[in-house]
Structure formats: structure tokens, C-alpha cells
Symmetry: C2
Subunit: 130 residues, 2 copies
Amino acid sequence: MSRKSKGINAERELVHLFQQNGWSSVRIAGSGSSKYPSPDVLASNALRRVAIECKTLTRTKKYFSSEDIEQLKEFSRKFGTESWIGIRFKGMPWYFLSLEDLEVTGKNMAISVVLAQRKGLKFEELIERC
Amino acid sequence: MSRKSKGINAERELVHLFQQNGWSSVRIAGSGSSKYPSPDVLASNALRRVAIECKTLTRTKKYFSSEDIEQLKEFSRKFGTESWIGIRFKGMPWYFLSLEDLEVTGKNMAISVVLAQRKGLKFEELIERC
């Protein structure tokens, strides 16, 4: 399976998770390639709206450019959504990190397995959060 | 060009229109086929959030099932968006109709060219509306 297909499958899985838990959720078309900044998944339960940038990976650390993070913030500001990074390392559950919890590494930001486990919320914790 | 491609092109055109006017806008992936109800396009200018079901057609009347309309309402209720039908008849500009303005035809609803011209907002009117 291509990396793109894996990414789309992971996004679909996340959409199903939200729907199964009574939230509305959608995938954004072309979120990785569109010239307009957009997250991968949006979800809402009428009280909260969340925008999620999804990453699945086999490595143990994921880097994000400051630009990626700024684009997610800008989208959330316009749409009135919470900004989250949803990350799934191979063989592990989804972890959701708020942007303040990312590790700053020079000009970029990063999430390691250790950081995800220490600071990330599991899916159940994300949707129960007030 | 297939009907699906034409639909996607029309949605992209609408996303560009919003972006060119300072709104954030995205297309929803698989909105026509997903098992979860979703509109085709979302847009926001920080003050207003709109969910749009897009239709382009060569005929002079478009029918909608009550279920289609209920799904758009349900999505908008969850996401806190305004519900709009964006319709583009061949050779005409986009018209945007609110759900109350659709013609009720038995169990279904419909928009004719005449109704779109009489009740619909043009794009500039949609984005300037308070």
C-alpha cells in the first residue's frame, strides 16, 4: 500500500471512530496537496469542533515545519476549531497532541514516541475532554 | 468529462471563489458517496461558517430527497454551520438557496431555474450577508 493510501486509511479510521462515538466527522479532500491550508479531519459533537492533522509513521519521531503548524492554527482561527495533531506510530494507538505540547527543535517542531506517550491524549480522552 | 469530474471541478471553483474573497474553504472528501452525511464544501470567514451542498446541472430543475436535506441540516446542527444549496445551471452563475426557499414537491424538494433566479443569492450576496 502506498504511503498516501495508508494516510487516507488512517484518516478514514479516525472518521469512523468519531462517528461511532456520536460525533460528526469528515475528511478534507486534498488536504495534503491543496494550495489552501487545511487539516485532514474535522469532527464535532455540537459542543466542540476539532481540526486534526493526521500522521501515521513507522519511524519513532515526526518533524513538522513551523509553516505546517501555522497553517493549522490559521484554519482553526477561521473555522473556530480546536487544533490537534493525531499521531499513530506503528503498533501503537492514536495519540492526540495540542500544539503547545510539541517539542521545539530549532525552526521545526517534533513529536517522538516518548512525547506522544507522555503528553498525548488517547482517543477516549480526546472526546471526553471539556 | 464525467459527471463526477464536473462536480468536483465546480466544488473546486467554489473553494477558489471563497479563498479569493478572504474566506477559508475546503472540499469534503467523498461527500457524495460516504456513508456519513456531509456537505460538499465548507467555508468560514471567522464570523460565519457555511456548509454547502453543490449541484451543477444542464437540466432546468433539480430534485432533492427529504433525506438529503435532513442530512445537511443534521451536519450543520453538529458543526454550527449555515446550510446552503449552491446550484449552477448551465451557462448561469452560482445561486445559493437556503433550505426554507426550496420548493416542496410531495415528498421531495426542488430548485428550478426560475426559483434560483427569484430566491437565490449570487456569490457576492452570499458572502456579504450578515
